[in-house]
Amino acid sequence: MTVDAPETTTLQRFVQSGVATAVMGELDNVMKSHNEANQTVKYPDNRPVKLSIKNLVVGYLDHQSGQTTVAVDKVSLDVREGEFVSIVGLSGCGKSTFLNAIAGLVKHQYGEIKVNDRLVNGPGKDRAVVFQKASLFPWKKVGRNITYGLELSGMKPAEAREKASYFVNLIRLTGFEHHYPHQLSGGMQQRVNLARALACDPEVLLLDEPFAALDAITRELMQNELLELCEKVGKTVVMVTHQIDEAVLLSDRVIIFSARPANILDDIRVPFSRPRKGLIKDSEEFRSLMSHVWKIIEGNANIGGGI
């Protein structure tokens, strides 16, 4: 992917797009032939495809130095309605970038993203994101942070308040509705971040390490709440996580990303039936799946150099 400096005209387009559109464009044909074969449906499923990503390339241009960092490199992925897909990979490999691209927050330079068969070219209410950083609005109290998405869609204040109180209970923050974010602990902030997304009740839920700041007990509680919610209404979820056990426990499929730039190393189907209980963790099958995933990432880390 190291490309020589293009002539000025290409450079201009490059700059206009904000990132390396032009450079990537040149790779068009190469990639088409290369990728189309790859895109076999690994696990046949009769549910409709909710989220479809094809040959996604995302890079960042540093306007000052003129450097581009390619974070996501030709990733293709289909997620079906009601499916729970986890993504694991090394720190800095491009997971958040991938998620943000699906959310429509980061422009991609090549490939396409479709939700419900419609091309994504910006954020939309069909998707909600739990960000890696809590990024709460510091001037809004907990309750108003949770109802942010609802207020945007024009829900009446009374109704929104009611919903907020439901989610405040769900994330075990009863009594903190009227606190400002800076008065919360790190884990509490992350839970508010989670509630903000859940409250919107979107078709596709994009979670970026939603439980990272939580202790084991609270984490399990929240995982169960999420599982219950998803199983009840059949939400489509893409979750980035660092806990392999969490990925296996919650997901239908675990996607393993390579070191940066991210591409898919493996796509593993989790064979346990639903509803699942925390108990499966102790099964031999669970453990062997976990160590399988671990070994794939580790192998790639060793080969791939820099983390």
């Binding site: 910006g122 209410k125 909600a128 609005f137 809004k140 945007l152 800076h182 903000r196 919107c200």
Partner: protein, 269 residues
């Protein structure tokens, strides 16, 4: 929740307000006393520099004979309209300049030129366009007060936290909603600063405008008293303006702090 103790609300806040008030007043009072002493010990010439005691007497006399009220109403009207107009035009314009880079590139230099253009050179133009009545004065106030608003809000837009914008966009916020839910709270300190500067500038503007033309208003009163060496009356007029200035400033500062109360109290030092 069993470990939360509640104290009578806002007593601390009230106490703080009182302390602030006392401190602020005492500095001014010390200044006034020093001034009075200078006068009493004949260290200043009362012909050009009055003394607090004499200013108070002059103030009382112009209050009694209704002069002050008459002029005050005129000036207040001019200032009020001009200030509000400055907000109405300056606020959205500043925001837009900060928001749209092309707009800023286009109009930035023009605004800078306008800001630095001596009003004095444009007086004939002013008269031709706006006459000699209240309109002209409102325009002078507007032109004095608008630049702090434009410049401050423009810069405010560049300090918006991009993470929060990401959040808003992810939740489907449109431009207007991003503006309301992020740009506005972020720009609040800038807005308040702009409003405070604009208030000070606007007050100067109204006085200047009345000095340059017109036969009513505090500025006219000051100018007339000045040209006839009634220094006490000059300072009586200045005192009124200063009091209005302080009131506006304190009010705006308080409003700003009210809306900024979400900031943690962490002492900086």
């Amino acid at each position: 929740m069993s470990k939360v103790t509640v104290f009578p609300k806002s007593k601390a806040a009230k106490r703080q307000k009182i302390i602030s008030l006392m401190l602020g007043s005492s500095v001014i009072i010390v200044f006034l006393i020093a001034w009075e002493l200078l006068f009493q010990f004949k260290l200043v010439n009362p012909l050009f520099i009055s003394a607090p005691s004499r200013v108070v007497l002059a103030e009382i006399s112009i209050i009694k004979d209704g002069t002050l009220l008459k002029h005050f109403i005129v000036s207040a009207k001019e200032f009020g309209f001009g200030y509000v107009a400055a907000i109405i035009f300056g606020f959205p314009f500043g925001i837009m300049l900060g928001w749209f880079k092309l707009l800023k590139a286009s109009f930035g230099p023009f605004i800078a030129a306008l800001q630095a253009t001596p009003r004095i050179a444009l007086m004939p133009l002013f008269i031709i366009w706006f006459g000699l009545g209240i309109t002209a004065k409102i325009v002078v106030v507007l032109l004095s007060a608008i630049f702090p608003l434009i410049v401050n809000l423009q810069v405010a837009m560049s300090t918006i936290d991009p993470d929060l914008v990401h959040v808003a966009r992810a939740y489907g916020a449109g431009r207007w909603q991003i503006f309301r839910s992020i740009a506005l709270p972020t720009s609040l300190p800038f807005l308040i600063t702009g409003l405070r500067l604009a208030a000070g500038r606007g007050l100067l503007g109204v006085i200047v405008a009345e000095v340059f033309g017109g036969s009513e208003g505090i500025g006219y009163m000051i100018e007339y008293a000045g040209s006839t060496f009634q220094t006490d009356k000059v300072f009586a007029g200045v005192l009124v303006v200063a009091i209005v200035g302080i009131s506006l400033d304190v009010t705006l500062d308080r409003v700003g702090r009210h809306f900024d109360r979400w900031r943690s109290d962490t002492a900086v030092h």
